[in-house]
């Protein structure tokens, strides 16, 4: 749909509620009204069926956490430590150019001990004590697999359904499909962080939260880690809020005169956007002001919480965002690319993410938000069960990219807690039991939001596009 007609369709609905009103109370309601225009890309604005989750927080672990050291316990890997990869695992498989051919690679045992946790008996290693502590609230999917072997294509595949940039990402689809629950904050927010001094941070490309061919207002709004979280959120130096408020009223009055003359509903929309912008100028500083949080809450998220730009800070912001009606929060934390730092940087990586991740789940639960908030934790692929580097040089042990098996966890949002789904083989090499492809994960997330992933489509370049491309099955068994 052309952006012009799209906004007209929106505004026509809005006008039903009286276009002379400068107030915006009716907008959310108006958005829920089905449009009358029979256009090809009418926004659904209603789920296909009752949603189990209203909101999503995706704790994206950028760089690919090592499933065999964190979640996927394989005694066989300990037995084969230092021995070559047995036959029958890697045939016909592609690895990164750093590994090339997997034949003859030496197996590497997990570096920290594993234990079974909670009533569910989920295996979680000692790297993640806080995650271990909430194991019974989590659903681990231990049979994830993907198609891409390098970071950017794999992240893009997971978030947009295609390896090449240009498709809308999950958050864009969700907000396009469901609209917003807040008029003072963006519906789709992205925050990024990286463990300090890591040697393996990747760039966060803005197509990771791109709107693709959806209208650009469905692009994720990236909150910045330093300075003002939203660009241009501050009034010009020398102009107070009171002054601005008065001028916005003047602008609205003159726009109203224009509207009478031109008859163009876009003019009313323009005024509305200035109004929302003005509200964001209050709501964003309020959002980022943690002074109303108790010390207990702050402590729960860990020491980084007070420092903008950290994962802990972002986790608490994520909770505050969903509390205020943001639909999709995408936290991305880089630094998981342990090619040569399994015994070193992996510790700081876990230290920075483990406690805040667990705290977020506990905190949402405490506030009664977890039922309707789907939390997802995971990266773009796993890491090789064999070593990258020299077995004799323990401080430089590493693992390479591995798309054939990895583990993620989900919580809340209608997902069964205390569950383990799927399994990889005895080496953690290939997902073998109840395999879940990234397209299946996408289908499941959309399902929890109330969408049939095959019907949430957008026509572009002559084709109906969807997040799951032409694939994907909802993993029914993990739904509560």
């Amino acid at each position: 749909m052309h952006p012009i007609s799209e906004s007209v369709a929106d505004l026509t609905r809005r006008e039903l509620l009286g276009r002379t009103s400068l107030g915006l109370g009716g907008v959310a309601l108006a958005e829920l009204l089905q449009g009358s225009s029979a256009s090809a890309n009418e926004r659904p604005l209603l789920p296909h069926f009752a949603p189990r989750a209203k909101r999503v927080i995706y704790l994206f672990q950028n760089g690919a956490p090592t499933h065999v050291d964190l979640f996927d316990f394989k005694p066989e890997l300990q037995r084969l430590h230092g021995k070559p990869l047995p036959a029958g695992f890697s045939e016909g498989k592609r690895f990164s150019t750093m590994t090339g051919n997997a034949d003859g690679k030496l197996m590497l045992a997990p570096v920290e001990p594993f234990r079974q946790r909670g009533d569910s008996g989920a295996w979680v290693s000692d790297f993640l004590p806080h995650t271990a502590g909430i194991a019974d609230r989590l659903c681990f999917i231990r049979s994830m697999h993907t198609d891409a072997v390098n970071h950017a294509p794999a992240i893009q595949l997971l978030l947009s359904g295609a390896q090449i940039p240009g498709r809308p990402t999950m958050g864009a689809w969700a907000t396009w499909g469901l609209g917003s629950e807040t008029e003072t904050l963006p519906a789709f927010v992205v925050m990024t962080s990286v463990t300090k001094n890591t040697t393996c941070g990747q760039i966060f490309y803005d197509f990771y939260w791109g709107n693709g061919f959806l209208p650009s207002r469905f692009q994720g709004v990236k909150f910045r880690g330093s300075g003002d979280p939203v660009l241009y959120i501050r009034n010009p130096s020398g102009m107070t809020s009171t002054m601005k408020r008065a001028w916005l009223d003047d602008i609205a009055r003159i726009n109203e005169l224009k509207l009478r003359e031109s008859g163009d509903p876009e003019t009313a929309s323009r005024t509305a956007q200035y109004e929302m912008a003005f509200r964001m100028q209050t709501s964003v500083p309020e959002l980022t002001d943690f002074s109303s949080e108790t010390q207990q809450t702050l402590d729960m998220y860990g020491p980084g919480v007070a420092e903008p730009g950290t994962f802990a800070h972002n986790c608490l912001l994520a909770r505050r965002l969903v509390e205020r009606g943001t639909r999709f929060v995408q936290l991305m934390h880089a630094g998981w690319d342990q090619h040569n730092s399994i015994t070193t940087e992996l510790y700081s990586q876990c230290r920075d993410t483990d406690q805040p991740s667990a705290a977020l789940v506990r905190d949402l639960d405490r506030l009664g938000l977890l039922d309707e908030t789907l939390v997802i934790w995971g990266g773009e692929f796993g890491r090789t069960p064999f070593i990258q580097g020299d077995l004799g040089n323990r401080p430089r042990w590493g693992r390479d990219h591995h798309p054939y098996a990895f583990t993620i966890w989900m919580a809340g949002g209608g997902i069964r807690p205390g569950m383990n789904w799927g399994a990889s083989d005895e080496l953690g090499f290939n997902a073998v039991e109840n395999r879940v492809h990234v397209h299946d994960l996408q289908a499941t997330v959309l399902h929890q939001l109330g969408f049939d992933h095959e019907r949430l489509t957008y026509r572009f370049q002559g084709r109906q596009f969807r997040l799951t491309d032409v694939h994907g099955h909802v993993v029914q068994e993990i739904l509560s």
């Binding site: 052309h2 952006p3 012009i4 007609s5 906004s7 007209v8 369709a9 026509t12 150019t97 390098n150 950017a152 940039p165 240009g166 963006p186 990747q202 760039i203 803005d206 209208p215 650009s216 207002r217 910045r224 880690g225 330093s226 300075g227 939203v230 660009l231 241009y232 959120i233 501050r234 010009p236 130096s237 020398g238 102009m239 107070t240 002054m243 601005k244 008065a246 001028w247 003047d250 602008i251 003159i254 726009n255 005169l257 224009k258 003359e261 031109s262 008859g263 163009d264 876009e266 929309s269 323009r270 956007q273 200035y274 929302m276 912008a277 964001m280 095959e454 370049q461 002559g462 084709r463």
Partner: protein
């Protein structure tokens, strides 16, 4: 010119209107239904085809269609079947044919099932111009209006009246220049009451130098132009001379077929010059991936795909990328077509490795200033050469006097005294000493040799001995020995004193050498071990002399009659590594080291009688004389300075990546699933088989492709291009899907108009300015954008164009408008990109601090948006609605989000423009509030405010005055926005109040809108 064209059009207007046909039209009504509902399984994609039935192909389709009888047609039976097993499309497919659609197909079969190609595949035929009478207020100015109004007659709508002059001049100026008109231009247009005022304005704008800049923006989006590579690392590149060429090409109205040929294949033109080669930068504007771990060939294939797909979208309006992996699902394009098209670009010598933003083939594109500087420096160097030779002649005349003087001055300060032998003996070779003390070995070239040398000495003190290894032309590669590498290995040096027929060994305690090769160190020549030694191979052909200084255990007082015996052994396993030319010297000066070789040489030369000197010695003395001459030194300094400057200018010359085909043909293969690593069948370059064929005697090249694109028989190019220029002037194309003219693209409601424009463009010799002129002179373009309830109800999308479109201006144009209105705009054209205001930390945040944004200052801040630096992974934050310039984009991005409202009100760009605008007006002649307000609105909206508007704004002004009067700090802050010079003489509170008002005016809906 204009008059003649209008006469021609009037002639067309009298022709008969087109007859509508009775039976359903296949390409417009039936094909879209088949495509949408059937092609997924019964279309061009052979891989996914079900039941071996392909409905895109007439012959195939006729297996299930009996022309003239729906009752006997399997297809009709299936689409109307109620049985789930038989029903088509299948119930679970998500596709449904409505009863009306079924009936349409039935009627088409009954009428004979006439078959033809998709509309855009059919040859462009000049349509007849409909004969229509103008409706009230509307005029038929040219055939565009005839087409539009004839279509409107079939609807309840009528064309709108012409917009007022102020709206028209602003609209035209923004559309054709991307800048608002200034007060003088507005006044002139309003005052021009003669016939043809509008036409004169159009000509003036088309001839403006800003025209090319405005046209270039959309072309840069299509060409995915940026100032960096994209991807991790995001290295910078210097493609901007190509960007400047585009601006000039538009300004010069280069015929579009040449514009095309030069950009796709300028390097292959027989008359290819600098400009044509520069134009091919178009193809090289793709992203470049410099990530570690990437396979070069994978990158290379990506780049070639990008070139092919960009060409496909820009000229053919086709989504070729669908065919990377499989045949097109809807259009008659096969995977083979894709790789045949790909093959045109596959002859690039780029191999995909490296990731530099200046990957060859490159074209140096010096600016006019750089060319001028280079010429100037080269001229200066030439002059200096003359001066050098003149001075050298003068110095020769005083040469011998200078030598005498030098000899006296430096007399006995000789550090190293070369020894001249009375006995030179080698086991196999002949040794001969020359006047400078050098000893050359010649004759046989044995594997090993030992030299024994007896040197008579004078009474002096000796503390160290020096051995020089000297290169010679008879040695391997002009090196130090006649060995395989030109290297030597001296395994032992034995020194003894011969006095009174006694031989007394002199021990060496330490050594120092110009170079030591690995463990072949200098101390190995006095370690008593004949297996170990000293060698100097530096990993490259020997390109310098070497030397070693050996310190004696204790100083030796030599007496007259003494002799020194030196034995040099070459006993290494390396064959023929014998010193080929060398000199032995001694010194009594403890400071004598390796570095004073030159003084040594010099004194030696001075001490040698002029007639006996070697050529080198003569040369050395002349050079020394010159070096000691102040005038000569000045010449040397001047030369160095000029050379440095020349090198600096050369280093700064932008290098543009351009096209070139490699000499050896690269074979092209179809790639399974589009994977670089899965080559299938080999293909040769060619155009899609379903389009008119490119006729070529051998495998065609890019130039033939470019010519095929612009060939009169090509049905797509002219349509696709005029549609995009329609989009540029009307906010959306006649075909909304500007990037897709395939079966799934929009079928234009105004197809006749599109075809007429395509014919006009083509038959004019691809004259772009003429095309734009034709469009903007139409009444359709000149209509008011005011809309009625009727229009909103019947045509909310304004597809029938019963009014002018009204839409938000692009963010880049909003910035230019604000700069122009405030008078800040710097109209300088071209050159390197500029870095304008951007919030702190945007690049740093996106790149973990790897890229630092360093904002420019002064005039650079006010250059047009076209020149703003475009970092591909994080584009300028100020251009919020633009293509990210990562891949080709010809579609319009128009957006309306609160984030943009934040920017337009709070960004220093606009706040500065507002306060400078206020400054200008306050410094102007008019001193009344209303007069000043009028001027502000004229500058921004091109009109004075209505009374009601003025009332609101002046009340706001009064309120602001009061607010700022109570807080002078706030006022001072507001009027200091940006880096433009402040107006110290203005009273801050008054200036601030007006600045706030200006900012509000810049944010009015009308200011942001193309009316």
């Amino acid at each position: 010119m204009i008059d003649r064209i209008q006469t021609v059009w009037l002639a067309f207007l009298t022709m008969i209107p087109l007859q509508a046909s009775e039976s359903p039209d296949f390409s417009r009504q039936i094909l879209p239904l088949l495509s949408e509902n059937c092609f997924q399984c019964h279309g061009p994609d052979a891989e996914r085809r079900e039941a071996d039935l392909a409905l895109h192909d007439q012959r195939e389709a006729m297996r299930v269609i009996t022309a003239g009888a729906r009752g006997e047609s399997e297809l009709y039976a299936r689409i109307t079947s109620a049985e789930a097993d038989l029903q088509m499309p299948p119930p679970d497919s998500g596709h449904v044919l409505t009863a009306d659609q079924q009936e349409l197909i039935g009627a088409w079969i009954d009428a004979g099932a006439e078959w033809n190609q998709h509309w855009s595949w059919q040859a462009v035929q000049r349509p007849k111009i409909p004969q229509v009478a103008a409706t009230s207020g509307a005029v038929i100015r040219n055939p565009i209006d005839a087409f539009i109004q004839s279509r409107l007659q079939q609807s309840p709508l009528q064309a709108s009246e012409e917009a007022d002059r102020r709206t028209l001049i602003r609209r035209l100026s923004l559309d054709l220049r991307g800048l608002p008109p200034n007060a003088r231009e507005i006044a002139a247009f309003l005052a021009d009451t003669e016939e043809g005022a509008y036409e004169r304005l159009v000509e003036q704008l088309l001839e403006s130098p800003s025209f090319g800049e405005r046209m270039a923006w959309d072309w840069l989006d299509a060409a995915r132009y940026a100032d960096s590579n994209g991807y991790q690392g995001d290295q910078e590149r210097t493609m901007w001379p190509w960007r400047d060429w585009v601006v000039q090409a538009f300004n010069q109205n280069l015929p579009f077929n040449q514009f095309t040929e030069w950009q796709l294949a300028g390097d292959l033109l027989p008359e290819s010059g600098f400009e044509q080669k520069l134009a091919t930068g178009f193809c090289r504007n793709h992203m470049i991936n410099g990530e570690g771990g990437r396979i070069a060939e994978e990158n290379r294939v990506d780049y070639v795909m990008d070139m092919a797909e960009t060409t496909g979208t820009v000229w053919l309006g086709l989504t070729l990328n669908c065919c990377r992996c499989h045949d097109h699902k809807f259009d008659s394009l096969t995977q083979q077509d894709y790789y045949r098209f790909f093959a045109f670009f596959n002859q690039t010598p780029v191999n995909g490795g490296g990731g530099s933003g200046q990957t060859a083939p490159l074209l140096e594109a010096p600016t006019a200033k750089q060319s001028e500087q280079i010429q100037q420096y080269q001229r200066q160097l030439q002059e200096l050469t003359g001066q050098f030779s003149q001075r050298a002649d003068q110095l020769l005349q005083t040469q011998s006097a200078w030598e005498q003087q030098q000899l006296q001055q430096q007399g006995n300060e000789l550090h190293w005294q070369p020894l001249f032998a009375e006995q030179l003996q080698a086991e196999y070779q002949q040794l001969k000493q020359s006047a400078d003390g050098a000893i050359l070995a010649s004759g046989p070239n044995p594997a090993n040799d030992t030299y024994t040398l007896i040197f008579p000495v004078t009474a002096q003190k000796a503390v160290s001995l020096r051995l020089d290894a000297l290169r010679h032309e008879t040695h391997t590669g002009g090196g130090l020995a006649r060995s395989d590498s030109g290297n030597f290995v001296l395994t032992e040096l034995e020194l003894s004193l011969l006095r009174d027929e006694q031989e007394q060994r002199i021990h060496i305690v330490s050594g120092q050498a110009t170079f030591e090769q690995g463990d072949l160190t200098i101390d190995r020549v006095f370690d008593g071990n004949r297996q170990s030694g000293w060698a100097v191979y530096e990993g490259r052909p020997v390109d310098r002399d070497h030397a070693a200084v050996l310190k004696l255990e204790s100083p030796v007082d030599l007496q007259q009659g003494d002799r020194l015996k030196v034995v040099l052994r070459h006993d290494s396993a390396h064959a023929s590594h014998n010193l080929g030319r060398f000199r032995v010297s001694i010194s009594g000066n403890a400071n004598a080291g390796l570095n004073n070789d030159k003084d040594q040489q010099l004194l030696l030369a001075l001490r040698t009688a002029a007639a006996e000197r070697t050529a080198e010695q003569t040369q050395l003395l002349r050079e020394q004389h010159q070096a000691a001459d102040a005038e000569w030194q000045q010449l040397v300094a001047a030369k160095k300075q000029t050379e440095d400057r020349l090198a600096a200018v050369r280093g700064e010359i932008p290098k543009v990546m351009v096209m070139q085909d490699r000499s050896e043909r690269r074979e092209t293969f179809m790639l399974e699933r589009g994977l670089y690593s899965a080559p299938g069948e080999a293909v040769t370059a060619g155009t899609p088989v379903s389009l008119p064929q490119l006729e070529s005697e051998s495998e065609p090249d890019r130039l033939e492709l470019a010519r095929w694109l612009m060939d009169d028989r090509n049905p797509l190019t002219a349509r696709v291009l005029v549609n995009r220029y329609w989009q540029l002037l009307f906010g959306q194309g006649l075909v909304k899907t500007a990037s897709d003219f395939g079966v799934q693209g929009e079928i234009p409601q105004q197809e006749q108009l599109l075809d007429w424009l395509a014919c006009e463009f083509r038959d004019s010799g691809w004259d772009l300015k003429q095309l734009l002129r034709t469009i903007v002179l139409s009444h359709t373009y000149r209509q008011t954008s005011r809309r009625t309830e009727l229009q909103l109800e019947h045509d909310p999308d304004n597809r029938l164009l019963s009014r002018a479109p009204r839409y938000r201006l692009a963010s880049w144009m909003l910035r230019d408008q604000a700069l122009a209105a405030s008078g800040l705009l710097c109209t300088e054209q071209g050159g390197p990109p500029v870095k304008v205001y951007q919030p702190e930390g945007v690049w740093e945040d996106a790149t973990f601090g790897r890229k630092t944004y360093t904002q420019d200052h002064g005039e650079s801040l006010y250059r047009r948006s076209l020149y703003v630096f475009w970092r591909r992974i994080i584009g300028p934050t100020i251009f919020f609605d633009n293509s990210p310039r990562q891949t080709c984009s010809v579609d319009v991005f128009r957006t309306n989000s609160p984030l943009h409202a934040l920017q337009l009100f709070n960004d220093v760009t606009y706040v500065e423009a507002a306060r400078v605008l206020a400054q200008r007006v306050l410094q102007g002649a008019d001193r009344s509030d209303r007069g000043r307000l009028n001027e502000i609105c004229e500058r921004v909206l091109c009109r004075p405010p209505e009374d009601e508007e003025a009332k609101v704004l002046l009340a706001g002004l009064q309120r602001s005055r009061e607010q700022f009067a109570t807080d002078s700090t706030l006022a001072q802050q507001l009027v200091s926005a940006g880096e433009a010079p402040a107006a110290e003489e203005l009273e801050p509170a008054e200036h601030a109040a007006w600045s706030a008002l200006c900012l509000a005016v810049l944010n009015l809906d009308e200011a942001l809108t193309r009316e």
